[in-house]
Symmetry: C2
Subunit: 341 residues, 2 copies
């Protein structure tokens, strides 16, 4: 979808949640990153060669990736010349910011003049059909959460890698802008008109071989007061065979929604399972993925053990512990399907 490899623009933004897209692309698609473009010593260091547009183009870069979130989501005026410089050196722009580069006249004009493309990842112009509910071939895993930002994307990426490491044909299916920038394809679901979100989710994981896995990045949370609708449409359109619940064990309330207490993992899984079975009666949980970044190693391990025992499911942190048991469960599902079909 986007010309790769990328030169990653970090500007002068220090390490923070504002740099998470850049860090995500660096971490999960290292083969697609030729360098970083830093404008200050304080800027986050992605541990990539430091290039400007000219040097990156010489090193083979085909796009400048804007993976930092400036405050307010607007593009600082000072960054416009760097964007134009990249276009002049033959790079496309891959933009994950809220601002649309196509709406910035200097950049739009330069792109037109130079025959380059502006990929505004958050602005989807693709049209989707209404969901059909038709069961597709192949196997699907969807990560779901107790809230937003619980590790759904990283869990899906880690499980895709782990499946591939076991020789299984597996594809990561991105549903948010960072995921789309990491994988170079996917659908930014939250930009789709409401009636077509389940249909878009159907398009995202098409018919595949019986033992092929699509590992789909979840969005939102089913008890989230603002985003549950997107979560449900994705759940229905994905028709997952396997679900993995993502959770931060230190969290008590929905982020930014004080007073909205998280439900128990049991209630949350029950709700997901019951709604998922509308489009796939076989939907079941195969694991729990904990985001333990706020816990010590010892605490994290104990939490995983406790939850595993409580729910009878493997429990892991994809950035800390191995996912072997979850992958075992996933693979067992394929055999179960083959046996009962």
């Amino acid at each position: 979808m986007f010309p790769k490899p990328y030169l990653i623009f970090v500007g002068d933004v220090p390490y923070s949640t504002a740099t998470k897209t850049a860090l995500g692309v660096r971490r999960w698609a290292p083969q697609d990153c030729v360098g970083q473009w830093r404008l200050s010593r304080d800027a986050v260091d992605l541990e990539l060669p430091d290039f400007d547009a000219r040097a990156a183009a010489a090193a083979g870069a085909r796009s400048l990736l804007l993976g930092i979130a400036p405050i307010g989501g607007q593009l600082p005026t000072a960054w416009i010349p760097y964007c134009i410089e990249a276009l002049e050196h033959g790079l496309d722009l891959v933009n994950g910011l809220h601002v649309k580069l196509a709406d910035i006249p200097e950049i739009a004009d330069a792109a037109r003049r130079l025959g380059r493309s502006l990929h505004d990842v958050r602005y989807n112009r693709q049209k989707f059909a209404v969901a059909t509910g038709r069961k597709r071939t192949g196997m699907r895993l969807l990560t779901v959460g107790t809230d937003c930002a619980q590790g759904k994307k990283y869990t899906a990426l880690a499980l895709t890698q782990a499946l591939r490491a076991r020789g299984v044909a597996a594809d990561f299916r991105a549903t948010g802008q960072t995921g789309v920038m990491i994988s170079g394809s996917g659908i930014v679901l939250d930009t789709v008109v409401a009636d077509f979100v389940a249909g878009a989710a159907e398009t995202l994981s098409p018919d595949a071989a019986d033992d092929h896995w699509d590992v789909i990045e979840g969005q939102g949370a089913i008890f989230h007061p603002a985003y549950a609708g997107v979560t449900l449409s994705l759940l229905h359109g994905s028709q997952p065979d396997a679900l993995v619940l993502c959770h931060d064990p230190t969290q008590r309330e929905i982020g930014h929604y004080p007073g909205f207490a998280l439900r128990s993992l049991r209630e949350t899984m029950q709700m997901y399972r019951s709604l998922a079975r509308v489009t796939n009666p076989r939907a079941q949980f195969v694991g729990i993925s904990l985001n333990t970044c706020r816990l010590s190693d010892e605490m994290a391990r104990r939490q995983c053990q406790n939850l595993a025992a409580e729910h009878g499911l493997p429990c892991f942190d994809p950035l800390r512990f191995d996912s072997r048991e979850v992958v075992d469960r996933v693979l067992a599902l394929v055999n179960a399907c083959v046996l009962t079909d």
Copy 2:
């Protein structure tokens, strides 16, 4: 929102589901209809004076309402001159078709030249914020369904009328194009970008007096494989105190989705209640509204009695039986809130 009253265009379309918007506006907003414009004897008769654009303008009409659905949703070329004729006689166009009149050059040009507005009801350009989850003042009733097209709009309209007849301040809140054309305001929810649907639903029923009721038109169904996401966003954003379940007792499967069996009313209500309580812990069912158009009077009455006994809720058909008991329950909720607050 739209200039009223309307001249309703029915063209040459005979009575059918294609004429339901025209019939709905005629039935629920008779005070807003000055006449009908029929091009053929076979066209549906709304029992309004037969006018062309000139005669309607003389009788006070301010808009031509396109409330028929031509096959495929496109505007037949033969209708374009009638649209232009209406513009020439000083009428706006209120259009519920899938086609956008603003995209038809002859019509767009004429509107510009004559200074008239084209209200393409299905194309919402309003921007909404992400839902806040903040509890609003006032009371809210939402109609929900076992499927699409079970009477959610008519039930909401009938209950609004019944509440007003009892001297209660009540507003119908439209969420679909027919509802918007009937009430002259509202939000066509299924055209809103997914992330903002719950936010749009919050906007739709703003803070109000403690004993004021917003009666909100539901959309889709919570077990619908394509539209459940919209249903859930509307449920969360509406934060209803009262829910009314709409159902066609002769239906066994989701319409146009063979193999997707309807769930029991009990399971359906349980799911709605449990999800509604995310944003309003007081949410409860106050009645069941049956669409009994396929049943005899005797059968309809028996069905209502049986379901009322089974679920301990008043059960009625808003087009056939009175809604007194449901309204009693609705009004009792206000007292309950005042007592516990």
